[in-house]
Symmetry: C2
Subunit: 474 residues, 2 copies
Amino acid sequence: MAESWVNYAERIGSDLHLELSGPGSRRAALIGALRDAVRSGRLAPGTRLPPYRSLAADLGVARNTVADAYAELVAEGWLTARQGSGTRVAERTGALQPAVRGTEPVHRPRARSARHDLRQGTPDVSGFPRSAWLASYRRALNRAPNEVFGPGDPAGRPELRAALAAYLARARGVRTEPNRIVICSGFAHALRLLFGVLLGPLAVEAYGLPFHRELLAAEGVRTVPLPLDEHGARVDRLARERAVLLTPAHQFPTGGPLHAERRAAVVDWARARGAVVLEDDYDGEFRYDRKPVGALQSLDPERVILIGSVSKSLSPAVRLGWMVLPERYVGDVLAAKGEREAWASVLDQLALADLIVSGSYDRHVRRMRQRYRSRRDRLVAALAERAPHIEVSGVAAGLHAVLRLPPGSERSAVEAAVRQGVALDGLAEFRHPDTDMPAHDGLVVGYATPSEHAYGAALEALCGALAPGGPSRV
Amino acid sequence: MAESWVNYAERIGSDLHLELSGPGSRRAALIGALRDAVRSGRLAPGTRLPPYRSLAADLGVARNTVADAYAELVAEGWLTARQGSGTRVAERTGALQPAVRGTEPVHRPRARSARHDLRQGTPDVSGFPRSAWLASYRRALNRAPNEVFGPGDPAGRPELRAALAAYLARARGVRTEPNRIVICSGFAHALRLLFGVLLGPLAVEAYGLPFHRELLAAEGVRTVPLPLDEHGARVDRLARERAVLLTPAHQFPTGGPLHAERRAAVVDWARARGAVVLEDDYDGEFRYDRKPVGALQSLDPERVILIGSVSKSLSPAVRLGWMVLPERYVGDVLAAKGEREAWASVLDQLALADLIVSGSYDRHVRRMRQRYRSRRDRLVAALAERAPHIEVSGVAAGLHAVLRLPPGSERSAVEAAVRQGVALDGLAEFRHPDTDMPAHDGLVVGYATPSEHAYGAALEALCGALAPGGPSRV
């Protein structure tokens, strides 16, 4: 049962929270930390350990270091290795200490140990528009009819669906109407619901969020990677799949938009095959240098499902997302959701509707767009000066940049960053395990993540790690 | 095939003959046949349809075919799906046209068509403590550190877990600590998560919420009914099951508490078998005539999982619930939940924590307890005067009463109520299809459901339906 502790850590792309401190070698430190975790029961018998590659990347150590540490602990009897089932904590008799868990968050533990958090995925939490949100919440609560406090419509509040239909049309070119929008608790919830309705396999981009692949795998959906080139996903490789998940506005994580011809091609494919395109519009509002790329959904609202949320624009703590559905899916999605998954807070839904309708949401997005653009500019300028050999890409939009690296140098760059106290991910973290496209080396820099006052120091540390002759080479 | 449907239809009180003939798909044939049955009135408004699984087995079609057909007909407005009561034929007066699916809520349509809503399951929505909630929300938001707006701990906010640990100890005698509490989005979410961890079959009470059984069936969990007698569930009938779901404080829906000896016995059973008791503490705060029955969980916190929510005490619109877990399950439940199911609004969590700590939650519960007690007293008095032949039971606690009826008279009583514009359910709605215990006839009256000003008229209509020689006999 306790195996899932590690699975959990793997699923969220996080590490085991092992402290590799102390004077000795990394290998010795890792062996000691793993041994302690097993001895204390934090890693329970039967628990599957992460693959070498994942743990190595998480800890910023060489893969061989992890392999050696595992081998040593297998020899000592703490772990067992069996073909096909990976490395596991050995079963033992005797008193089993239960996992000790406190009230500490178990997620993203590196954020605590690293001084500078440049991992992608989170907006600047210091930017949450507290006053505007509270004002909207108050207005919404005061205005709400009593029926708001009864059992809710699984589709979500009509106020929010109407506000989103108008907003998405204006800001993202989405063509829809309120009764084709279903409110949910975020992207993961949407994906889960859709795969109660659609049937796999699902084509995905060869680089993408491991979290999504793992979530789909947990639902029994096999993902088939599409290679990427300079025009985005090779949608010409789509074959018998019934659905494809794309990030057309800003490929995640590599950063480019899907070429116009490919946008048309994928919709044609969906029409011809009776298939559907899932459009992950995760950061469509944050575009800096050119006109926003409209939602792919507008090409064919009956063939594209757009999925969005406020996790990047406001905060992942506001658990709200939406699906914009072709008409034929509305009934099925609602049936799959039912009242049993009407999880989105109704009051938050009303507050968000007010935030949008009152214009506060637009003002907030503009303010954050300015902030992130300025951070991006500082990143580009600092690297141009301190590490001119590094190409920065994917910066026309979004909350992260990709620093392209020479082949084979990604791991050492991640390690150099870790030594400077910087937490970030290499592109390898996002690579689909089944793809055969050539690997790209690069660092994914989430420049939105630090709070405003912490960004300068994070940037300095990053440059220190990457500058030729800088501390990274010491 | 159609014969078995007729058998089923007879069991549920419908006269129906369903032909799945014709050239198209089974799904299309089923949709057509059901639509015709509704249109022609052969399936009367309010009729509950069989669970997917049963109808699929009866007709010899795939479960998904039935699910799809229902979903389609819900979308078209012929059927409705609502919590606690499965899928039903929609209530309509006049022309039988499908409801146009717009931004209207699709749930609980009877509340709109029936003049008086006495179905159980909902608190008086006019009682939501708007000012206190807003004050707590404001305080919580002002006090929140920035990290609140980042990715959340799947266990829930520590502030809320600490507040709940103290509150549940004081109000319900629960023995726990914050790090054994996991916040979720309500009872259904808790049940779903637990059955990713526990393995079925699950023993349940022979009368209970169909919604729970259907949710468990959807997760692949078989439920085994335990008969009830005057001391509550016959826990001596527990056998090889690994878990049992009980409503020990106030059996739902029949209304009595589980006898003290049975409370001890079920915990002994769990200890002896290595099993676990799930305690559905759905209305433990609303007790009128005697000292609260403490939570069963206090007998053995390592053998009982308590599940609670604010759906009855505050509102189902605040999507918050909790599990109080034995230590050995904490890690597994968190792993099953993961970041992908951290759906509970973080700001609402903080607001609820403040509401509890500030004492506002207690004040609200006391106020509502007084309101519901007075309604219960009015119900008992009115029936004693107008329909003295009816025994009212299960009224020491909770938000509903059971009106006991002579054998065989339940359906005509429900129909008499409908003719008076009263929506309510008979006990048959809650009966487990597999139980062999004798059926009890009765009406389940949710006296909390109407708003304060509407209660008198609802009561009058109910008495009109039940009074000897009253309109029900016309």
